[in-house]
């Protein structure tokens, strides 16, 4: 039936050339986004270089701040860091190092920063990954419900609770949860990721048990954003004409919501989730510190208190790269969800 509508020869050719052009456009779109991310990444590396080496005047003094170091040791450090070379040379060494995943050696642990990151990255991925899934699911679900019954008592309580939790400093909430549920009621461990001596499959419930409080803390301070964005974009959509069309078709409200309103409202929300994902990694610094969760955040905190500059610098690049990567993912995902911006 569709074939009968197709005029014969010229049109398929036309369609072909249109497709070619859209292929080029698509390639260009992805190229631009990828290029933008690389430029941002370069800017981050540049920033970190200048921030930690140039601003303080004498980096060695900053590094050794508050510690007794002899003149000879200082000279040694200068040579180690190539500070006797020109700025351009230093940057080149630094840049090539970063690109080879050589982030220098930690003062504090006397180990390559990359190794330290490798050791600590999985606990963070576990905690942050779980928290993002839980908070996104919770936020979106509550957001949809809130928008659908907007103005109702439940909606107002919902929004109020979310806004209040958003205003809570995560570290403080963590402390309160420890006071009540760990040191108070003793339901959960106060710190760490696993108990000593637990082996094999037993580790899974053990880690889960340790993860409850940090997870609750992270979810509590993050889900409000998803809720508010989902709620307001769904409210926007609900006033739209196509929703009236859908209702006029005789669809049940539930179907109108699921099939028409939510897919449209999801667009801005999904972007936000991915953009946020990058930041949440850093947001875990405080929660990991409070709960002694052996991840990157805790590593960062320990680097700060020394201060262990190569470590802090390396994590700075890593955290920023995470944000850039997630922004890129959001950019690439958006056209998949929204045909209007499909290149």
């Amino acid at each position: 039936m569709a074939d009968s509508a197709l005029p014969t020869a010229p049109v398929p050719q036309l369609a072909q050339s249109v497709r070619d052009r859209s292929g080029v456009r698509r390639l260009r779109y992805y190229g631009e986004k990828l290029g933008g991310s690389l430029v941002s990444l370069f800017a981050v590396i540049l920033t970190s270089f200048f921030l930690f080496r140039i601003i303080p005047g004498d980096p060695v003094r900053t590094m050794t701040h508050g510690r007794p170091v002899s003149i000879e040791q200082q000279e040694q450090l200068r040579r180690d860091f190539g500070l006797d070379k020109s700025l351009a040379e230093q940057f080149w060494t630094y840049l090539t190092g970063v690109l080879r995943f050589d982030l220098g050696e930690s003062f504090q642990y006397n180990r390559p920063v990359t190794d330290l990151i490798g050791d600590r990255i999985w606990p963070t991925v576990l905690l942050v990954g779980t928290s993002v899934i839980v908070s996104a699911a919770l936020g979106l679900w509550l957001g949809v419900r809130g928008a659908w019954n907007h103005g109702s008592l439940g909606d107002r309580v919902n929004t109020g609770v979310a806004l209040t939790l958003w205003s809570v400093p995560s570290f403080w909430l963590g402390l309160i949860l420890i006071v009540i549920f760990a040191s108070g009621l003793g339901w959960f461990p106060t710190s760490g990721m696993e108990s000593t001596g637990v082996e094999g499959w037993e580790r899974i419930p053990d880690v889960a048990h340790h993860m409850v409080l940090p997870l609750v803390t992270l979810v509590a301070v993050v889900y409000a954003q998803y809720l508010m964005i989902m709620r307001s974009s769904l409210l926007d959509e609900m006033g739209s004409d196509y929703i009236v069309t859908a209702r006029a078709k005789g669809l049940r409200d539930v179907i109108v919501r699921r099939r028409h309103a939510v897919p449209n409202a999801l667009l801005p929300t999904v972007t936000l989730i991915f953009v946020n994902l990058g930041f949440v990694v850093f947001g875990a610094v405080l929660v990991e510190t409070i709960f002694s969760w052996p991840g990157l955040g805790q590593l960062f905190y320990s680097g700060l208190s020394v201060p262990d500059l190569p470590l802090v610098q390396g994590l700075f690049i890593l955290f920023s790269a995470a944000v850039i990567l997630m922004n890129l993912v959001a950019d690439l995902l958006y056209p998949v969800l929204d045909p209007r911006v499909r290149p």
């Binding site: 921030l51 209040t164 205003s167 809570v168 402390l175 106060t190 700060l304 700075f316 920023s320």
Partner: protein, 293 residues
């Protein structure tokens, strides 16, 4: 002519207020804010001279609530209530100044980028993108680690990392305003760039900036407490975040000294929530579509 303008502005303000008043949460936020501002201003009157003294504190350390100290004392023997009162000064100062920096830069760059367009605008937006992807806390923490620990560092760190959000918003708003016909007319009548920007664009962009400002103060205060908790603040100032950090240091968590941990946190939540509610209420008045929410 001028009197006419003023009369119109007064009327606008009156209308704004009558709509704002209908938002109960917004009014609640405003009242809470007023209380905190009052507390911050009157801090020297409300507390004794030696309230913050570590060398000759008013009480003995780590006492629970009593008739003398309603919320107990900290590790140096200072009254928790006094610490909260003085802490409001730190929070509000940091919040206002950081926001001021952020808004000033953001508005300036946003209007410039929106008004002139072209490659300069693209470059400016690229720069804001760089700042946007950098986790503000990381950059702030790095700055603080490098510049030393002080309130100014925290203010600069927050201000410098939060302006891109404002810039993007202002740019979008500028583009919207410049598309209106009366801008065309102002140009046709010979209005220069500066005239158009300051007399036409700025007044129209300001309302949205106002809403953004209020929301931003809240998050700046939250960030400040985080910085202080990470030990990046001035160790001698009695900030709420620093107080919570001190409580953690002395083991208030395991010995369950709730009066040491609870009050500063509640103060932070109240102030941040108040700013958020006020910001949302302003937004609601400015954008009627949002009002029902």
């Amino acid at each position: 002519m001028n009197g006419l303008v003023w009369a119109r502005r007064r009327r606008t303000a009156a209308r704004f207020w009558s709509q704002y008043r209908q938002n109960r949460a917004g009014v609640f936020g405003l009242v809470v804010l007023a209380l905190f501002v009052l507390t911050a201003l009157l801090a020297p009157v409300l507390t004794a001279d030696n309230a913050l003294s570590v060398t000759r504190p008013p009480g003995s350390p780590l006492q629970g609530p009593s008739a003398d100290f309603l919320l107990g004392t900290d590790r140096s023997g200072r009254s928790m209530i006094d610490l909260i009162i003085w802490g409001s000064r730190v929070s509000l100062t940091v919040g206002f100044w950081a926001t001021f920096i952020s808004i000033a830069f953001g508005t300036l760059f946003g209007i410039l980028a929106g008004h002139f367009g072209g490659w300069g605008s693209s470059l400016l937006m690229r720069v804001t993108d760089w700042f946007l992807v950098m986790p503000s806390l990381v950059l702030g923490v790095a700055l603080a680690a490098v510049l030393g620990r002080s309130l100014t560092t925290i203010i600069v760190a927050i201000g410098v990392t939060s302006w891109p959000t404002t810039a993007r918003l202002v740019r979008a708003q500028t583009l919207a305003v410049e598309a209106r016909p009366y801008i065309e007319r102002a140009r046709a009548l010979g209005g220069g760039h500066l005239h158009v920007m300051s007399n036409h664009v700025l007044p129209n962009v300001m309302p949205i900036v106002l809403a953004q400002t209020t929301l931003m103060v809240g998050s700046a205060i939250l960030t400040e407490s985080t910085f202080a908790f990470l030990g990046l603040g001035d160790p001698t100032t009695a900030s709420w975040g620093a107080t919570i950090q001190a409580a953690r240091d002395v083991g208030a968590v395991s010995s369950r000294m709730w009066w040491y941990i609870l009050p500063p946190g509640i103060a932070i939540v109240l102030v941040v929530l108040a700013f958020t509610l006020v910001g949302r209420a302003i937004e609601g008045v400015l954008n009627p579509k949002l009002r029902e929410r």
